[in-house]
């Protein structure tokens, strides 16, 4: 198990390096630069700006400088938000995305897995059809339709909840964005759980457990649920990384100052350092979560552990 863990960790390093390299050169390959303006800058100012941000150096040297900075957790200054460094922006934005995302994932897990299990246990019943119909709707209505609808009904018309922003930081401000973010996940998780649960319930070891006369709840909770969650877990890794690094759409619609919007504004403004910063950060998170998923697999499925 230990050597497995170490191997996985070492394997992550080249992945990360490739990611950094590709992102670094791709964003610079895009036409237009961070200091291109509708009104071109005075040549002296432009030269000074390029020098200040080291854009006048050869690319390989910039790349080396960037990697060196990364080793010291220094993502460099933001070109667009000139009063901040990228590290500061990530430190400010990430907790906002993390709070929203982790609540949404927990809600999605609780509701999604329960609903999926119920549907599987009462297969082809009214319960099952109800859950599946709802989850189909949940999957097919995208965020950017659901979120404004929620705002319109609960904020504009009923005035029960705020339409957006951090407000005073209380939970009230989280209800709508969490709902909008969790709904598609709930739907997907419910379908996933139902599918694998049905399969597991038909498998030989469950039949054996039943034949031995174990009570139904014990069969389900102790024997069926764990293997049934395998596909859920593998879905959960990237999904969690995605959700907690911030959903662009949700953050935009609910005006939440998370990390997600930096992807878009950074790329549009050719804010090289900001784009790189969020890409690297996101990349590390994905790698970490995939790693956790692998560990969880090993725990859930003995076959993985002994391989």
């Amino acid at each position: 198990m230990l050597s497995y863990t170490i191997r996985r960790l070492l394997g992550a390093i080249p992945t990360l390096l490739i990611l950094i390299g590709v992102a670094f050169f791709l964003i610079r390959a895009a036409p237009g630069g961070p200091f291109d303006r509708e009104r071109s800058l005075l040549p002296e100012i432009e030269a000074n700006l390029n020098a200040a941000y080291h854009l006048d150096e050869p690319l390989y040297q910039q790349f080396g400088r960037y990697l060196w900075g990364l080793l010291h957790f220094d993502f460099g200054p933001s070109f667009q938000y000139r009063d901040y460094t990228v590290t500061e922006l990530i430190v400010q934005g990430f907790p906002v995305s993390l709070t929203l995302g982790s609540i949404a994932i927990v809600v999605a897990l609780l509701v999604g897995i329960s609903a999926g299990s119920i549907a599987a246990l009462k297969q082809n019943s009214r319960w099952d059809h109800g859950v599946m119909a709802l989850s189909m709707t949940g999957i097919s209505i995208p965020n950017f339709v659901m979120a404004p609808l929620l705002v319109l009904v609960f904020a504009v018309n009923l005035r029960w909840l705020p339409a957006g922003g951090l407000g005073d930081g209380s939970l009230r401000n989280l209800v709508l964005p969490v709902t909008a973010l969790a709904l598609p996940q709930i739907a997907y998780l419910a379908r996933l759980t139902r599918g694998s649960m049905i399969e597991v319930l038909r498998s030989n070891f469950v039949r054996t457990a039943r034949a031995q006369g174990l009570p139904t709840w014990q069969v389900i909770v102790r024997h069926a649920l764990k293997p049934a969650l395998l596909p859920v877990v593998s879905y959960l890794g990237p999904a969690t990384a995605h959700v907690i690094t911030g959903s662009v759409v949700i953050e935009q619609i609910f005006s939440r100052p998370g990390l997600g919007r930096f992807f878009v504004t950074g790329a549009l403004n050719r804010d090289y350092t900001l784009v790189m910063g969020v890409v690297v950060f996101y990349g590390v998170l994905i790698i970490v979560f995939n790693f956790l998923v692998d560990l969880a697999y090993a725990w859930l499925d003995p076959k993985v552990r002994y391989r």
Partner: protein
């Protein structure tokens, strides 16, 4: 966000926003009690919540280049000259000033009671330091051209002279002298710009790059910085040291980052915002019907036009063709049917500016039929016709309204002249890069919001050497007229020269004017002291909240 995804998102958002009805929102509620019995009674809580568009880029006045930053900065800092609620220039830190005969030397008498937000006295030396910082190439100021009129400013920015040579001098603690390179009648207007506001030297030296953070920033405006959460909001509070603090009514102003126009509107409808930055233009009819009282549409110092690349065929040396294309466009269809927010059809480059006689293409007074007939004639004279149609390309930056206008113009050209135009969109940074290279562009979309209330902010753009002249227009006569206007001391003669320059421009037609911008926004009925103005500058020392 992929293209299709974006379109879908917009569609969905407009569907959703459109189907709401007034609901509990503004229009349906009784609003008779606003301002109490007298109608002018103030609310107990003097807090203003403003939608401020995209996240601001900086609170350093010498680094700012975006409206979001300017909007906040004009409340944190004040120059020698300031603006009234209606945009008129009024004394700021300077209580009065004298201008020499030749228009090149200004002497400002500063208010001795003026202070920084930390209580330090504000002196002429502070302004000397700040102006020098503004033109210093080491400051990396994108907007340094605002200070170009100052004596030797250009040479200093180009690194040819030390900053100490700048034509700014403290005569005594509260008297400042500014020398200009040329008489610049709009100079007072430049003094209200962020680039001309003072920065607090001790703070900059103590905190370096971090000086604009809450807790560090020291300003001299009616408000001082309290909070700044990137992408969420900037909160400013009353500055008790401000010289006119007795007249400030608001205690706090929140500037919210509202990048998404639909989301901003919903927050306004949910009463979370007192005013918005803008409205989603697709919502205009819904808002006219349901929020007539809150919707405020005001003229804006902005000109929307199409440029022709005159450095390459087919538009090179072909003014007749350019004119034909310009005349074939029915501007009223664009302003009244496509945009329909109140934009003004335009046949001139410079928007209406006080003291300047607006210039128009000679055909402006004709009917559209006459213009189209003339267009056909010119098109034929330029050597085109049914057997040799012009094939060209309209390029615009990706945005829904720009697309709709491009499609309309493509159709008009096709119907009136038979021109085969394809339309192509590019993302903003790619677009300005392409445009600037003048190789792949033929006809392209451009717009310009004036930096200050003077025709020069427009006419200088089309000089052959100007960084923004992406048409490649190069007429020595035009350059001469614009240059002559800079040294003309007599305001009337100067305006005449500028008007002549614009007439020349419109005769050569390197660009075709389309419309004058308007600024639509939502303002709650209890916001008092708010006035629309052509620059869309709002200093909230004048704003207050009525009882409601």
């Amino acid at each position: 966000m992929s293209k299709h995804y974006g379109v879908l998102a917009m569609l969905a958002a407009s569907l959703v926003a459109g189907c709401g009805g007034a609901g509990a929102g503004g229009a349906g509620e009784p609003q008779a009690q606003i301002g109490g019995a007298s109608g002018t009674e103030l609310a107990e809580l003097q807090v203003l919540r403003v939608g401020n568009g995209a996240e601001l880029q900086t609170l350093d006045p010498h680094h700012a280049e975006d409206t979001a930053s300017f909007n906040v900065q004009m409340n944190l800092y004040e120059g020698l000259v300031a603006e009234a609620a209606n945009g008129d220039l009024v004394p700021g830190v300077a209580k009065d000033w004298t201008i020499s005969e030749d228009g090149k030397t200004y002497v400002f008498n500063m208010r001795p009671e003026a202070r920084w937000s930390n209580g330090d006295p504000l002196t002429a030396e502070d302004f000397v330091y700040s102006f020098r910082r503004g033109v210093d190439p080491k400051t990396l100021s994108v907007y340094s051209y605002i200070l170009t009129p100052l004596l030797h400013a250009d040479d200093i920015t180009a690194g040819k002279r030390p900053v100490e040579d700048l034509g700014v001098r403290a005569i005594d603690e509260h008297t400042l002298e500014i020398k200009l390179a040329n008489p610049t009648p709009y100079f007072l207007g430049l003094l209200s710009h962020s680039m001309s506001t003072p920065v607090h030297r001790a703070t900059l030296e103590a905190h370096g790059e971090q000086w604009t953070r809450p807790g560090n920033l020291v300003g001299n405006g009616a408000f001082k910085l309290d909070e700044w959460v990137v992408q969420s909001h900037v909160k400013v509070v009353r500055n008790p040291y401000y010289w006119d603090n007795a007249n400030t009514k608001l205690e706090e102003v929140y500037f919210y980052a509202t990048e998404d126009q639909n989301a901003e509107l919903q927050r306004f409808r949910a009463l979370e915002l007192d005013m918005t930055e803008i409205i989603p233009s697709a919502q205009i009819n819904f808002l006219r019907e349901n929020y007539a009282k809150e919707l405020v549409v005001a003229p804006y110092l902005g000109s929307y036009y199409y440029g022709f690349n005159v450095t390459r065929p087919p538009f090179k040396d072909n003014p007749k063709l350019r004119r034909a294309l310009s005349l074939a466009v029915n501007r009223d269809v664009i302003t009244k049917q496509i945009l329909n927010v109140g934009q003004i059809s335009s046949y001139g480059f410079v928007p209406p500016i006080t003291g300047y006689t607006q210039q128009n293409m000679v055909e402006a007074s004709w009917t559209q039929e006459q213009r189209e007939a003339e267009a056909k004639k010119l098109y034929a004279e330029a050597g085109y016709g049914p057997d040799k149609q012009l094939r060209t390309q309209i390029m615009y930056n990706t945005q829904e309204d720009h697309r709709r206008i491009a499609v309309a113009i493509q159709q008009m050209w096709k119907q009136v002249l038979g021109v085969e135009a394809e339309i192509l969109n590019q993302e903003w940074k790619v677009f300005i890069d392409t445009r600037n290279r003048k190789v792949d562009t033929q006809v392209y979309r451009q717009g310009w919001i004036g930096d200050y209330n003077d025709p020069f902010t427009y006419l200088e753009l089309m000089r052959s050497t100007a960084g923004q002249n992406d048409t490649g227009y190069n007429n020595p006569e035009y350059d001469r007229l614009v240059a002559a206007s800079q040294s003309a001391a007599e305001p009337h003669a100067r305006m005449e020269l500028l008007q002549e320059a614009e007439r020349q421009l419109l005769a050569d037609m390197p660009l075709m004017p389309l419309y004058i911008y308007v600024r639509p926004r939502m303002v709650q009925p209890w916001v008092g002291g708010y006035e629309s103005n052509i620059m869309d500058h709002h200093r909230h020392k004048y704003t207050y909240i009525l009882k409601h």
